[in-house]
């Protein structure tokens, strides 16, 4: 179980993440939503330890993650928002390197990498440098790297970015399957439809603060709105979408 207790991140006096608390449980897919700049990726990076938080606590299975950061890092897989990879390595070389960095045993890992590459449709391009990969192929490499060590916690920041329809469908099912196998999954996405289909619970962030943390079903009932999109626009959007649309159309006509 992943638990955030009053986690904040302050940049020169400005709160990017403001006392965020929520729990992501095993077997559950937690959607993490918010408009651009609401603090989603910052929270993800704090959970991975990539950036330090200003205050609050992050616990995994009831233990603060700093207590043994190395052991904690072995337990999670992370797909970052942008597919930044070492482009001079081939997909295979990159995954082998990730396996070594995670101290995984050589031969079984190699077999697992081969399998992942095959299943993700990258096997034919495994020797090609990543610099020649499309955005979707890079996303698949990131996904393979995150799954390589069979993590208990999966942190997915915009995992559907760049994926084609077929791959996106596979990933959707995969997320649900992994949750069913007891993994804790926290994933953020702007595709509300996907979140609605995959997640059992959502945490909605607005200006760094949690404005909603509940199951989609309960939110629908509470807010008397039929879809997650409606809930989201009510909680996290400051402007009237229709009015804004008209304003833009008028502006470019002038």
């Amino acid at each position: 179980m992943l638990e955030l207790r009053g986690v904040s991140k302050r940049y020169s006096g400005m709160l990017a993440v403001d006392h965020v608390s929520f729990v992501a449980s095993p077997g559950e897919v937690t959607g993490y939503l918010g408009p651009n700049g609401s603090g989603k990726s910052t929270t993800m990076k704090m959970i991975t330890g990539l950036i330090e938080r200003s205050s609050g606590e992050i616990l995994f299975e009831g233990v603060p993650i700093e207590r043994d950061l190395s052991a904690y890092k072995q337990r999670f897989g992370y797909v970052p928002e942008e597919p930044h990879l070492y482009a001079h390595l081939s997909g295979l070389e990159y995954l082998v390197m990730v396996g070594q960095l995670r101290n995984l045993p050589g031969k079984p890992t190699r077999e697992r990498i081969d399998g992942l590459l095959r299943l993700l449709g990258l096997h034919g391009d495994r020797y090609t440098p990543i610099s020649a990969y499309s955005k979707g192929m890079r996303q698949k490499v990131l996904l393979a790297a995150a799954l390589l060590h069979d993590p208990d916690l999966l942190l997915l920041d915009e995992p559907f970015s760049g994926l084609d329809v077929g791959s996106a469908m596979v990933l959707r099912s995969l997320i649900q399957e992994l949750a069913a196998r007891g993994k804790t999954i926290l994933f953020s996405s702007h595709e509300l439809e996907t979140v609605e289909r995959v997640s059992s619970r959502v945490v909605i962030l607005h200006r760094g603060k949690v404005v909603a943390d509940d199951s989609i079903e309960r939110l629908r009932k509470l807010m008397s709105l039929p879809s997650l999109e409606g809930i989201f626009s009510q909680l996290a959007m400051e402007q009237d979408t229709a009015a804004l649309t008209r304003e833009i159309a008028d502006l470019i006509r002038k």
Binding site: Y11, S12, A16, N36, G37, S38, G39, K40, S41, T42, K45, T48, G49, L50, I51, S70, A71, K73, Q74, F76, Y78, P80, E82, H84, L85, Y86, A87, H88, L89, S90, L92, E93, V96, M97, V98, G99, Q100, L101, R102, N103, L104, G106, G124, D125, Y127, T128, P129, S131, A132, A145
Partner: protein, 929 residues
């Protein structure tokens, strides 16, 4: 126009790579640009300082001209090096690339605008680099490099075409024709100047004497320093007679008490005869009463007084230093021992037995009218020189006929009646010490092994002389001229005759007239010539690289070009750096001759632009080089235009359609796993990055280029001669200081190059994978860094040098040096590992770090001196001094162990956590949301 301006600014800005900067660099591009400009300005100031000392220098004409040319060439070559390096480092910014096209193609921008903006940005970057580099130098040097205040005639230093070998009998007519340019108006032998030449040639028993101008076959000339060869034979005679020894201290031949016995080594007769005594060229207490006859009143008492004060200790590192004082002292000492005056010694010992009745110090009443009038460089008549105490250095006067007789005796001493004289002559010729390169010196005689000839030249205020003979080719040449050797006429004619005898292309006897340059107009012209030349030289080198890159892009399929491009870049880099360091920097007549001839040096563009500089200054000197500069500019201009034109017509349109990198369908990407999992990951990552990243390869190549250049400096320059204690026919097989020092330097620069490459990040944004990887403590990271460094630097150099030394040297010496070299490499690697733990190629780079590199380059002289000293100790150790070997190895082991202990300690302490930023993040950062 607005679009052009925006694109121009963007492209110019892109000439400086910002992607390496740390996100905390704060000053970003302006800071980096500022540092770059400050560095150039600093160099500009540095190279301008000598201009303060050169201004107004009007020394000996030839030397002054050569100095000016050396400075001009240095400035041109350095500009080309700088622009060349800039062009190589900005290789990818010179042509529109995929990014430009993909970003700009959807915008309403015409291809022409894009291309013109790119060309303008490249040209502006070139001009800015040259302008900043010459900001100070470009004002100081045109003012300091004074053009002559009066019209001057100097040798054209070109080469006449080869012709079939001319024999002695046919030489007069050939020379008459070849000398015609030297007799043109303003040339040294022009009618009315009073300058004449007497020539004697002897070849295989055929002898000819002929003259030009006012000289007659029986004209008597001052032979000046050729006299030293007579003193050398006199020395050999006294040695054979057992009256002196070559290794005898000169002190013993001076009046008792004349000079105190020094501690340590003393100057011997051999040191004096081979110019290795360390004595200066002339004595300091020379206060001539008559400047036109400056040595006449320098007596033996003056000589002893000087020596009493100066002493006769031999400096331990005495190298060749031409000394009139030394030969004067030798002549005086021999006369003391023989109990006769020096002129009498020569007369009884050499000139009388050889029948050289016209060779004497004091002329008889019969000879006096035949003594030809001498002239200075400006053709003004000057008085003859009389030498007293320094007679042994240059007092003799002679005719071409007598000198030819003398040379024939030297050529075939075995034919002489006097066995004793024959033996003395042979003894005097044996080469005994190094002058420079392949030139050796005997007892006075110089020996040029490249042409297998003995030579000597001489000059006084009004006379020049040149003698040469070759037992191997059986010829002798004498050239006597009644003009000061400020114009090296005698040497030129002597060399010309030698080349005609052998059928080689001969140095031209043509002269060019450099017009006077005065006043504000003269200054303005020099200023224009300077700046135009520097810009043209920069444009040439930049254009050459653009042409090579552009044409390669057209000729090769794009994916192959993208791969070959980095090799082309490294090749260009090596060529630029190699050419800069390998070409001679001190300009002499020989260098200019070689550059103007169709040889290797004639392909060096910096010499072409030296010619262009003269031409723009209004001087006809070096005109053939100037023609090559114009031709080069034209070719490169066309090449660049063609490259950009084809880029516009073909590449811009194809760039989007073609993949940047061809898919790899085949290939084994196996690499051995060294060490633990995480260690292996970092090692493999380091090796792959260095092999595949063009930027990092360039950084390493830069350091290797410098390392190789310094290696060449040690191995091929006079420094090598200086450091080699025993010059050998095959210096590669000797355990010499230059070879030892070179291999140590190579190891050092390789380690440093890899270390610097490690410190530059590949892609900061991709580092997250290392940051979220699990690792405890710094021991794993330290092991990974250490093994990566050893694998990429120490091991390849060591293995390469091991193969070389085991092949070249005796086993014991090779193994000994390889052990030392291994310890040097290990110690250097360990020192490089000190400091914060950083995974290679991942830590952000702060521009402030370049200060360290600047300090290093300033201290490079000290480093070289230390390495040379260390190599000298190592040589002693390898030559069998076991205590020295133990000491050298012990010191290196201690350094290695100390550095290793510190690195391990740092890894275990708080510094063990890998760092990805040079400085801790500031409070304000990009939000990264």
């Amino acid at each position: 126009m607005a679009r052009f301006r925006i694109l121009f600014r963007e492209f110019l800005f892109r000439m400086v790579d910002l992607e390496l900067l740390s996100s905390h660099a704060q000053g970003d591009s302006s800071r980096l640009l500022g540092q770059f400009a400050s560095l150039l300005l600093f160099i500009s100031v540095l190279i301008s300082i000598p201009a303060l000392g050169v201004g107004g220098g009007q020394g000996e004409l030839a030397a002054a001209l050569n100095l000016a040319w050396s400075i001009e060439h240095f400035l041109i070559a350095t500009t080309m090096l700088l622009v060349g390096l800039f062009a190589v480092l900005r290789w990818d910014s010179a042509f529109p690339d995929r990014r430009d096209v993909l970003v700009l193609a959807p915008l309403p921008i015409r291809w022409q605008t894009l291309l013109v903006a790119k060309v303008a940005a490249v040209a502006a970057a070139l001009c800015l680099t040259v302008a900043v580099f010459h900001a100070v130098a470009g004002l100081a040097w045109p003012a300091a490099l004074n053009a002559p205040p009066q019209t001057l005639s100097v040798p054209a230093l070109t080469t006449d075409a080869a012709r079939t070998p001319v024999d002695a009998a046919g030489m007069e007519s050939v020379l008459a024709s070849d000398l015609a340019p030297a007799r043109a108006p303003f040339a040294p032998l022009a009618v009315g100047t009073g300058t004449g030449v007497a020539v004697g040639v002897s070849q295989r028993g055929v002898r000819r004497i002929f003259t030009f101008g006012p000289a007659r076959p029986d004209s008597i000339f001052e032979i000046a320093s050729v006299t030293k060869t007579f003193t050398g034979i006199a020395l050999a005679q006294l040695v054979l007679q057992g009256k002196v020894r070559l290794d005898q201290p000169i002190r013993e031949l001076l009046p008792p008490g004349a000079v105190r016995k020094p501690k340590g080594a003393e100057i011997t007769l051999l040191d004096l005869a081979t110019h290795h005594s360390g004595l200066p060229r002339m004595p300091a207490n020379l206060h001539a009463a008559d400047d036109d006859n400056p040595l006449a009143d320098y007596t033996a008492d003056d000589l002893y007084a000087f020596i009493a004060g100066y002493g006769v200790a031999k400096p331990p590192d005495a190298e060749f230093l031409y000394s009139n004082l030394g030969f004067g002292l030798l002549g005086q000492a021999l006369a003391n021992r023989a109990g006769a005056a020096w002129p009498a010694l020569i007369k009884t010992g050499i000139t009388d037995p050889l029948g050289m009745s016209d060779t004497t110090v004091a002329l008889s009443p019969e000879q006096a009218p035949r003594f030809i009038q001498g002239h200075d460089a400006g053709h003004r008549p000057v008085r003859g020189w009389d030498l007293d105490a320094l007679a042994g250095a240059g007092a003799l006067r002679s005719t071409a006929g007598d000198m030819l007789t003398y040379l024939e005796a030297n050529l075939h001493p075995e034919r002489l009646a006097s066995r004793e004289l024959a033996a003395a002559i042979a003894e005097s010729q044996a080469p005994r010490a190094v002058v420079e390169g392949s030139t050796r010196v005997g007892l006075g005689w110089g020996y040029r092994s490249s042409v297998a000839a003995f030579t000597h030249s001489g000059g006084t205020g009004g006379f020049g002389s040149h003698v040469a003979f070759s037992p191997e080719h059986d010829y002798a040449i004498v050239v006597l001229v009644n003009q000061s050797p400020a114009v090296p006429l005698a040497d030129m004619i002597g060399e010309h005759i030698r080349q005609r005898l052998s059928g080689e292309p001969a140095v031209s006897l043509a002269f060019v007239t450099i017009p006077a340059s005065r006043g504000i107009l003269g200054w303005a012209r020099r200023m224009f010539a300077y700046w135009f030349t520097m810009l043209a030289a920069g444009a040439f080198i930049f254009g050459s690289l653009l042409t090579a890159q552009g044409l390669a892009a057209q000729l090769l399929p794009r994916p192959i070009f993208l791969r070959a491009s980095s090799f082309l870049q490294v090749a260009a880099f090596c060529t630029i750096v190699g050419t800069y360091f390998l070409q001679p920097m001190a300009i002499s007549d020989e260098v200019i001759l070689a550059a103007q001839r169709a040889g290797r040096l004639s392909w060096s563009p910096s010499f072409w632009f030296l010619g262009l500089f003269q031409q723009l200054n209004g001087s006809p000197a070096l005109a053939p080089l100037a023609r090559r500069a114009w031709a080069g500019l034209a070719v490169v201009g066309c090449g660049t235009a063609l490259a950009y034109g084809l880029c516009y017509l073909r590449t811009l349109r194809q760039i989007v359609e073609q993949p940047e990198i061809a898919p790899h369908t085949l290939g084994a990407r196996w690499m051995p796993q060294i060490g633990k999992s995480i260690t292996a990951a970092i090692i493999q990552f380091s090796v792959r990055t260095l092999l595949r990243s063009r930027l990092h390869r360039m950084i390493l190549a830069f350091y290797l280029g410098i390392g190789f250049s310094l290696t060449i400096l040690f191995l091929k320059t006079p420094l090598a001669q200086h450091l080699s204690e025993t010059p050998a026919a095959d210096p590669w097989r000797q355990v010499s200081v230059p070879l030892l020092a070179s291999s140590i330097l190579l190891m050092g620069f390789w380690v440093m190059g890899v270390r610097v490459a490690f410190s530059l990040p590949l892609d900061l944004r991709a580092n997250w994978i290392f940051q979220i990887a699990a690792a405890r403590g710094g021991a794993d990271y330290l092991a990974a860094r250490r093994r990566s460094l050893l694998l990429l630097s120490v091991i390849p150099v060591w293995v390469g040098l091991a193969a070389l030394f085991l092949y070249l040297w005796p086993l014991r010496a090779a193994v000994g040096h390889l052990a030392i070299l291994g310890l040097v490499g290990l110690a250097l690697a360990e020192i490089s590992l000190n400091g914060a733990q950083k995974i290679p190629f991942t830590c952000a780079y702060l521009p402030g770090k370049s200060n360290i590199h600047l300090t290093f380059w300033i201290l490079i002289g000290l480093v070289l001196a230390l390495v040379a000293k260390g190599a000298a100790y190592e040589r002693l150790a390898l030559m069998g001094d076991r205590a020295m070997f133990a000491m050298v190895a012990g010191v290196l082991l201690a350094v290695w162990a100390g550095a290793r202990w510190r690195a391990e300690w740092l890894a275990k302490s708080g510094e063990g956590i890998p760092r990805f930023e040079e400085e801790d993040p500031a409070e304000v950062l990009t939000l990264g949301l």
